[in-house]
Assembly symmetry: C2
Homo-oligomer: 410 residues x 2
Amino acid sequence: MFTTTEDIKIKNLKSGSIVTPKGFKTAGVHAGLRYAKKDLGVIYCEVPASCGAVYTQSHFQAAPLKVTQQSIAMEQKLQALIVNSACANACTGEQGMLDAFKMRDLCAEHLGIDNHLVAVSSTGVIGELLQMDKIAEGIKQLQPIQTSEAAEDFQTAILTTDIVMKKACYQLEIDGVTVTFGGAAKGSGMIHPNMATMLAFITTDANIESEHLQTAIGEMTDITFNQITVDGETSTNDTVLVMASGFAENKTLSPNHPEWNKFKSGLHLIFQDLAKQIARDGEGATKLVEVKVHGATTNKDANIIAKKIVGSNLVKTAIYGTDANWGRIIGAIGHSDAEVNPETVDVSIGSIEMLKGSQPVAFSEELAKEYLSQDEIIIEVHLHLGESTGTAWGCDLTYDYVKINASYRT
Amino acid sequence: MFTTTEDIKIKNLKSGSIVTPKGFKTAGVHAGLRYAKKDLGVIYCEVPASCGAVYTQSHFQAAPLKVTQQSIAMEQKLQALIVNSACANACTGEQGMLDAFKMRDLCAEHLGIDNHLVAVSSTGVIGELLQMDKIAEGIKQLQPIQTSEAAEDFQTAILTTDIVMKKACYQLEIDGVTVTFGGAAKGSGMIHPNMATMLAFITTDANIESEHLQTAIGEMTDITFNQITVDGETSTNDTVLVMASGFAENKTLSPNHPEWNKFKSGLHLIFQDLAKQIARDGEGATKLVEVKVHGATTNKDANIIAKKIVGSNLVKTAIYGTDANWGRIIGAIGHSDAEVNPETVDVSIGSIEMLKGSQPVAFSEELAKEYLSQDEIIIEVHLHLGESTGTAWGCDLTYDYVKINASYRT
C-alpha cells in the first residue's frame, strides 16, 4: 500500500489555496440560482493544463460529467473549470446535456479559450433543469484573479449545506524547485430532492503529462476519497479533478522520474486532507472517525473492512453516544466479504484495547467514555493474517443527520 | 423467481402460533438473565422432527450456532430448541462453546431425549459469558405444553428490545390433509454491547425429509428474511430454524411430489409474514417500507436493487419525513452493482409516478405527502431490461433509531 513516509519533506501551507500553485486564478459569484449564497465558480489556468479526473461510479452520471469527459478526451488538457451549486443537472435527459454543453460554451467564450478546454461541474437538486439565463448572466460576472479572497469566493460557491469551506495546500521540492498543490472541496450537503455530492478540485504547478497524472489520481483516490463515507450513498455528480500548469518547471514527471513517489506523496496528502475535511463535515456530524485496519491479507481487504466499520450505522451511533461498543465493530467486520479469522482479531478504540484474539479485554469504561468524547476518534483493528493495511474516514450518526434529511422541507 | 400464486389456497390463522401444527409444545420462563422479562424458552416436538436451518453469514458465528449445526449433523433430526435472550454467547471463546454444549445437555436431560436432538440459540449481549447457574435453574422450570398462552411465553422469552411479539400461522391442504405452519420470531433489539439479532423459529406438521426441507428453507430465506434490512448490520447469532413433525400425515414431500410448490408456498408465506413483522418493528421505526423491482435482467439483480433502496439512509430518512424524494431512490439504484440502463428507469411511490424513462414526471406533492404519511409504504421501480423481479422490506430511519442506539446507557 502506498503511504506517505515521514522522510519526505512536505510543507502544509495553512494559508494556501487553489490559487497558490503558479498559473491559477479563480472567482465565485452569486448568479441567483439560490437565495443569497455564491453559487457559480470558475478555476482558470494561464495555459492549457495537464489534467486528470475520476467520476462517480453511479449508473446515473449527471450531464456535466459526460461533457467534462468529452472535453478531456479531445487533447487531455483543461484550461478552466466552471461549476455551479443549487442544481445537479442530473436525470435531465437531452435538455440537460444541451445545457451542460451550453454552460461550457459560454464559459469558453467569456474566457476566450477553446470550449474543449473547459470542464463542467454541478451539484444540487436532481431532476431539475439549470436556469440557463442566470448561468449565462453569472458567467459574464466571473473575473478570475489570484487572491485568497477569490479562492474563498470559489470555495463558497461550490458548497451546498456544508457547514465549513474545505481547502488545503501543500508544498514540496522536486528537482530542487518548489511544487505546490492547492485544493478546494465540498462534501455532503443536501438540497431538495438531492443527495450528498462530493466535489474536489485540485490545482498544481507541477510539470507532468496528463497520462501519468491520471494514473496517480486513480491510485491516490482509492486510498483517500474512496475511503470516506458519510452515509453510504454515492452521488450522480461526484468528481475529483486535478489541473497541472507546469509552471514549477520541474523535469516532466512520470513513474520513471526519481522523485515520482514524492509527487504522489504530495497528491496523497492533499487528497487525504480534503477527504478528511469532507468526512468531518458530514451531515449532522460532530466527530471525525478514522478506522485503521492492520494485518490483512491484502490492502483491498483492509480497506473493505475499514470502510465497513466506519460506515456502520450502529458503530456511528455508538460513537455519537460515547459508548465503547466493540460488539458493533465485530458485527461490522463479521459481515464483510474480506478474509477474517474469527479467532485472531484485536480491536482498540484510541489506545484502549477492547478485544485481543477475538476475546474481550477488561477496560475502564470511564476512560473509554472520556476518549470517545473527543472530536476525533481512532479505531484500530488487527486481523493477524498478513502485512496489509487500510484506512477509512467517516463521522458519527446523530439526531441532526435525521433532522437534516427528514425535515428540511417542513 | 418463486412467488406464491393467487390460485393456491392458503389460510392465514390469526389465532395460530408455533403450537398449532400437530406435535409441538412450548414454554417460556423468567430465568433471571434480565430484570423481569421472560428470557428462556423451549420448543419441544413429541417425536424427533425433520429439520433445517440457515445461519448468519458473519465471520463471527456465535457458539450456540456451532452447537446447533453439530446437533443437526448427527442424524438430521431435532426434537427441541432451547433459546435464551439477554446474552448472545458470542465472542466468548472456548468457555462459550462449553456453555452452549452444557445448555444443550441440560435441556436434553430435562426433556429426557438425546442431546444431539437439541438445538441451541442465544440473543443479547456480545462478549459476555452465559450465567449458567441461572440457565440451569431456568431449564428445570420449563414445562412445554400446547396452549396459546405457552406460545406467548415463548414469543416473549426470545425478544430483546423488540416492541411487539412476532408470530404467524398458515394452513393449506396437501394430499387432501391439512398441513399447518407456525412461527415465532424476534427482530432488531439492542442490549449493551450488542447489535440487532434476527431469530425465526418455524414449526410444521408436514411430513418431509430434512434434506428437502433444507432446500426449501434456503430458497425461501433468500426471498424473505435475506431481503429485509433494518440498518444493514448482520448479527453473530441470526438463525432461521424449521422443525417438521410429520403429524399431518401427507405423503412424504420432495421436489417430485405434485404439491411441492404448494408446500413451498406455505413456507414462503410464513417466512414473508415474519420477515415483514421484523422489518416493521425495526429499531425506532414508524413505517414498513416495501420496495418492488420489476424488469430486471435477473432476480438476483432485482433483489440487490430492492435491498439497496430499502437500506439507503437517505431514502429511509425521506420516508420518515414524508418527503417524496425520488432523487434518493435514483441515488440508491445508481450505486448498486446490478445491471441498470440509466435511460429507462421508472419510479413510483404508491401509485404516484415520479420518474418515467429516467426523467421526472410532474406529480402532486400534496398527494405524495399524504401517501407517505401512512404506516406502510410501497416503492416500485421498473428497469425495463428483462422479466425478473425482486422485493425487499425495511423501515424508516428516525430520531428514535439514533436515540435507542446512541443514548441507551445514559
